[in-house]
Symmetry: C2
Subunit: 433 residues, 2 copies
């Protein structure tokens, strides 16, 4: 049994610095819990840092650190996909366990990386890659391991949730809130990854794999961001008892899995609708557990460092056990990963919020409801507002779940009506029941 565990932290940005600080702040607690001294022996950094304990070796040669005989665990918090991938593969080949927060890398190259780790008898841990400090990877991989997961729904991008919360609570417009989020450091100068849903899609592909036992398939996630969300729709949704959240969903269906990330109306009464600001939350529906929900900080130095170091604490037991046997990377033993297919967007089923802009004339509502009915779409609620100055009237319709291909067909027919003057606005709706 090793008494001292040596770790290398590659990257000293927000997260890397958070890890260094955590080890300083909580040294006593870590050793009381683990029974081991956990020491940072190396940090990988481009520029020498004077605020780091001088006994820690600093170097910009990441590959050398990843291969160093003294190092038991390599923490990769560089970000990006090329250098990070090279370093992780180098560490694995040198039989080091790896901890990473790199969701983009794992979502796109995880199958290869995990396969290599299994070949070399080491673990690549990634608790921090999804929902920051919320231990959702451990929860689905281990705590819910006896369940059959039916679906997962998560607010897994704090930037997006901050923007939608501000729009919802303060009637602010998307562009204005985005600027504030950038000023506050919640959003990047180039916010594409967050507001177009790509970051959430990365995370969702990881969640879906460990929930269902399927290989990572990021390229099959249907992905829609929040940039087109109009304040008007946020307000109408609220009047109807719904909140618009940007959610990632993974559903088990009869003929395959649905993986999708998009703005969604959910009932105000659900806990997820009350997860505000930069907070994250993930809801899981599983048999026999039923519904459970996990909530907390999805980003930031402290939350991410908490997740990274939880992985390190776990790896101490793996290092001390004389067997590479441990929880499989994607929660299911590799040879049991299933090739059940991911459904196309046409095959997905969900409810819809539709906003039509129509001329104030007789018959248009009758035509619309007839088209919906002919396409097998059931209406759950309908709301007609006063005419704008232009004489045009907004009509809001909520539908029960319907196959997306049918909805596409119905919308085409509705838009062909002479009284419908603008493209139909559509936002998906989930009751989360």
């Amino acid at each position: 049994m090793k008494d001292k565990i040596n770790i290398a932290v590659l990257g000293l940005g927000t997260v890397g610095t958070g890890v260094v600080n955590l080890l300083k702040d909580n040294a006593v607690e870590l050793s009381r819990r683990s029974g081991h001294d956990i020491c940072i022996t190396h940090v990988g950094t481009r520029r020498r840092r004077d605020d780091i304990d001088p006994t820690i070796k600093q170097s910009d040669d990441l590959m050398a650190i990843a291969a160093d005989d003294d190092v038991d665990i390599v923490i990769e918090v560089i970000g990006g996909k090329s250098v990070a991938k090279d370093v992780i593969i180098h560490a694995i080949k040198h039989k080091k366990h790896v901890v990473t927060a790199n969701k983009a890398l794992l979502a796109e190259h995880g199958n290869e990386i995990f396969g290599l780790a299994e070949e070399h008898g080491v673990q690549v841990r990634y608790e921090a890659a999804v929902a920051g400090g919320i231990p959702i990877i451990k929860i689905i991989r281990e705590a819910l391991a006896a369940n059959k997961v039916d679906w997962v729904a998560g607010i897994i991008n704090g930037t997006g949730n901050f923007i939608l919360t501000e729009m919802q609570q303060k009637n602010r417009r998307f562009g204005d809130v985005l600027k504030e989020a950038q000023a506050l450091g919640y959003a990047e100068a180039d916010p594409t990854f967050d507001v177009e849903g790509i970051d959430a899609a990365h995370k969702l592909s990881l969640l879906a794999s460990i929930a269902f036992g399927i290989p990572l398939q990021f390229n099959k996630v249907y992905c829609e961001g929040i940039t087109k969300i109009n304040l008007q729709d946020v307000v109408y949704a609220k009047e109807l008892g719904y909140t618009i959240k940007h959610l990632g969903f993974a559903f088990r269906r009869e003929h395959g899995f649905e993986l999708r990330v998009h703005p969604t109306l959910i009932p105000n009464s659900t806990l997820l609708a009350n997860v505000n600001g930069v907070k994250n939350a993930v809801m899981v529906d599983a048999h026999p557990l039923g519904q459970s929900l996990y909530y907390g900080d999805g980003a930031g130095a402290g939350a991410t460092a908490s997740a990274v170091m939880a992985d390190v604490m776990d790896l101490i037991y793996v290092i001390n056990a004389n067997t590479p046997s441990d929880v499989p990377h994607l929660a299911f033993v590799p040879e049991e990963l299933s090739d059940t297919r991911i459904l196309s967007s046409d095959e997905m089923t969900c409810g819809y919020y539709l906003r039509l802009t129509v001329k104030d004339e007789l018959g248009v509502l009758a035509d619309t409801t007839r088209i919906l009915s002919e396409n097998g779409i059931n209406i759950d609620a309908i709301m007609q507002r006063d005419a704008h100055k232009s004489g045009l009237v907004p009509v809001i319709i909520l539908t029960l779940p319907v196959l997306e291909s049918q909805m596409n067909k119905a919308i085409k027919e509705i838009e062909a009506l002479g009284a419908v003057t603008e493209p139909v606005v559509r936002i998906r709706l989930e009751s989360l029941e």
Copy 2:
């Protein structure tokens, strides 16, 4: 590496039957995840059950099953404290790992049982003992292992939460809802354990130990139930923006720990206030993670079986590893458990809701606020309602946090005022910030 894991289920009540059903329903999923066949080889039951797979041995000789060479893991779901304790100790002495849902037994005898397990190199797992299907034991023991926990607050008794939710949402009285809860099977014929807070205190003592690294000290938990909660106070609290929940708290303070279970006003805007019906939820405030919350079913066959089997899945790795090294029973290595003391109720600090019944005469409000001020108590809100037909006036006061001994002194002085006609009603208040 063992391919087949043999388990014995002792007790075929709700939970035991839930475990048997889970293994039947999710056999494929369990083997895809664990890579092992998990088989029930024995069940311990007083009466022979014809609905059980005939290849499973049925017996009422629990001690013989617990010592059987074929058995790898013993699941104790008998309940009660005497037979259950004997059987668990017998299993430990025969080097079997044990999984139990028995909160009362562990809260009162856990120090002894865990010590014995460590001596014999086996694990006693107890995920199902607290908050049913919510994996809060794993979360605090493992997922938050790198944190220093500041406090834990939990709705950890579903019966109590069901009753308070009904009172809050439907303005019903305690006694009426209790009767319904009994009819629905949410409350026992003798509801004492639930409504007097004892069940919650059992669970809280387990949470406090793994959060802070202290031995189990059930007898030092301050415990107050919900039987004295008056509908009138639920209504006033609501008007002031608060919900009354029955909560278990464990706080780290400068001079010791506070462990307490009692009805509490919490702000409506908190997620905990929106946890309704029989649901459970636990909030943890930790450094550096911050606040996180875990929500789900706190009882029932499915949720409890999910937790029991998660422990079994974990133990498969322990069985396959050639070392007894694993997460310590109380999350901290035994020699590092701290003797920091548990504060007495006089030393506890919290906010208060006070309801005074006073004669409608000049000066009584001034006298009351003077007494509070003289005792160093800051008022956060004050609300005076219309006089009852009797001419008596209810006065509601919310205070900022104050030492309980000071509040006791102030209340005595207030009750001595001539215009105060009834004992002051007091309910604790926590902002959860």
